[in-house]
């Protein structure tokens, strides 16, 4: 029995089918990336795993039990960080810890907060408010908060989408480091194939909507730690990249509609707007490219 199982999951909003026949099985300890277009239904999919949404039909099961509501065994990290702006970094994390471990002593809870803040390298920033932090640091707080609940599965919904390329690379490496620490099950939602390849053991492409569904899984057989630079000469990297991109950009990933229309492009040359529009009352006439072409022939 797989650890997390989605079977024939369908979801519609207001008559529009967002997801159809989504089937996915994830084993315990796996790091799986779901790569797809924005607007395809990636967030809908992960929200159903988190229990924030219920599927219209089909089932979502964690260890054989149907998921019906959100719970602390599934830690979620959102793209927009979702931190409480009036609480400090440590208080934001403590909020989750206090909820999940009410029977612990306050020392135990404080130790828990400190442990996870240290894990994401935020110990020096524990007393800061979210607005005093950069985007990358806010997302670290969000990761620490999710991890401190000691969830069975970590759900990451485009956690690095709002960050610049450099910060994203740093945090990707950090996510992998944290995952290697205790090999918790991770589902990462992203639109960046390379991010999936850098972090995951398996990539599942999600086709474009409406009616998006999961494509064939691609295993990432690349030894860790993975280095962005030397990866380029790795045949496995090229293979995975091609397989995922070909599916997503090819006919399976995107339904394309074509229209046939007769178009005319007048063969005109642009006017120089620095010259006056009228000269002694005479209006300028349009310059056609054909006339211009005649001129060049004469010169040659």
């Amino acid at each position: 029995m797989p650890f997390l199982e989605l079977k024939n999951v369908c979801k519609s909003f207001g008559g529009t089918k967002v997801l159809r026949d989504v089937n996915l099985a994830i084993e315990e300890g796996e790091f799986v990336s779901i790569v797809g277009y924005s607007g395809a239904g990636k967030t809908t999919l992960i929200s159903m795993i988190a229990g924030l949404l219920r599927p219209d039909s089909g089932s979502v099961k964690l260890r054989g039990e149907e998921i019906t509501e959100p719970g602390p065994e599934r830690g979620m990290v959102f793209q927009n960080y979702s931190l409480l702006p009036w609480l400090t970094v440590a208080e934001n994390v403590a909020l989750a810890v206090d909820q999940v471990f009410p029977t612990w002593t306050s020392e135990q809870r404080k130790a828990q907060v400190d442990k996870y803040l240290a894990m994401v390298n935020l110990t020096p920033a524990r007393g800061k408010l979210p607005r005093e932090l950069s985007g990358g640091m806010r997302q670290r707080v969000s990761v620490a908060r999710a991890l401190a609940m000691e969830p069975k599965i970590l759900l990451l919904d485009e956690p690095l989408g709002a960050l610049d390329a450099l910060t994203r690379a740093t945090l990707q490496d950090e996510l992998v480091r944290i995952w290697e620490h205790d090999r918790r099950t991770v589902v990462l939602i992203t639109n960046d194939t390379d991010e999936g390849i850098m972090t995951s053991g398996r990539i599942v492409p999600l086709s474009a909507g409406p009616g998006a569904t999961l494509g064939p899984s691609v295993a990432v057989d690349i030894a860790r730690p993975r280095d962005r630079k030397t990866l380029n000469s790795n045949p496995a990297f090229k293979h995975v990249r091609k397989a995922v991109l070909d599916y997503l950009l090819g006919p399976g990933g995107r339904q394309k509609t074509t229209v046939n229309r007769k178009l005319t492009l007048p063969d005109l040359l642009p006017e120089d707007l620095n010259e006056p529009r009228t000269l002694f009352g005479a209006k300028r006439t349009a310059r056609r490219r054909s006339e211009e072409k005649l001129e060049t022939v004469e010169i040659a």
Partner: protein
């Protein structure tokens, strides 16, 4: 007798755009801050050149100076034999955010520039121009929609159509796909290339996406980190045109060049990296990057 076949097709000028000793200095309380120093670049007619570098290295400043949107402190620019001083419709700009007028439809947004540049043409011809470009970028059925009704990717398509519709001498693209997700980005790159191959407008693009640079350009100019950014490395991209994403990615040189570019960017990233939180108020390395 002149053998027409042996004659070279339209004569390409080696130095269609010439940037010489460009310098941009801003006054600051600590004395003048040099952003770009002694920047030299020559672009041939019909060439697609990309400036690549990290955020803050000054690559957008260079583009903005060519567009005439930022004043040049020192140095000069010549486009098609004329000195460039201010902004003008002979340079079509595609911005990172499409900058469309929200109360106008896609067609009206494109018509705005077309009406200026082709004021001598008939109304019907101007409409044909706008509709032609909007159709080619894939918006044949969405011309009457306002920006709010369009997705981010579709808005950027309008931005691309608007720039091409002016038949500019030069196309300037400032991280045109930076706000899009990586898959939509691939799609729009194909749209841009499709349009570009029809006219081969000389283009200068700024990006930090290595794949984008390799897919689109003839030449990639790597800029070192600012301040005082300069040209670090120039990579010639050998892939034959017209290009197709699958073929480009399977080209034996593709991943070798990709590695070279990533290495360049990594070297220049680590140079600037600082330890997070050395003091209380300092920004971390990533905030500065």
């Amino acid at each position: 007798m002149i053998d027409l076949k042996a004659m070279p097709a339209p004569k390409t000028r080696r130095n269609y755009l010439e940037l010489s000793q460009l310098n941009k200095t801003y006054p600051s309380p600590k004395g003048p801050a040099v952003i770009v120093n002694d920047f030299n670049l020559e672009i041939a007619e019909g060439e697609f050149v990309t400036l690549i570098g990290h955020s803050g290295c000054g690559k957008s400043t260079v583009l903005s100076m060519v567009a005439g949107l930022t004043d040049v402190t020192a140095g000069g620019m010549v486009l098609a034999g004329k000195e460039v001083t201010g902004p003008g419709p002979d340079r079509g700009v595609v911005f990172q955010s499409p900058s469309l007028l929200p109360w106008m439809t896609a067609r009206e947004n494109v018509m705005l520039g077309v009406n200026q540049v082709f004021f001598t043409a008939s109304g019907n011809e101007r409409l044909q121009i706008a509709e032609y470009y909007l159709s080619v970028v894939g918006l044949a059925d969405s011309m009457d929609k306002r920006p709010a009704e369009l997705s981010q990717g579709m808005r950027q398509r309008v931005g691309i159509a608007r720039a091409f519709a002016l038949s500019p001498k030069m196309l300037l693209l400032d991280e045109p796909f930076g706000m899009l997700d990586s898959l939509t980005r691939f799609e729009l790159q194909a749209v841009l290339l499709e349009l570009w191959k029809r006219q081969r407008i000389t283009a200068l693009m700024v990006t930090h996406d290595v794949d984008e640079a390799l897919y689109l350009s003839d030449r990639i100019v790597c800029m070192t980190d600012g301040p005082e950014a300069e040209v670090g490395d120039i990579v010639t991209v050998p892939f034959p045109r017209p290009r197709d994403r699958v073929a480009v990615m399977e080209h034996p040189e593709y991943y070798r060049l990709r590695e070279r570019l990533i290495e360049f960017l990594e070297v220049h990233a680590h140079k600037k990296r600082r330890v997070a939180f050395p003091t209380g108020k300092s920004v971390s390395s990533e905030a500065a990057a």
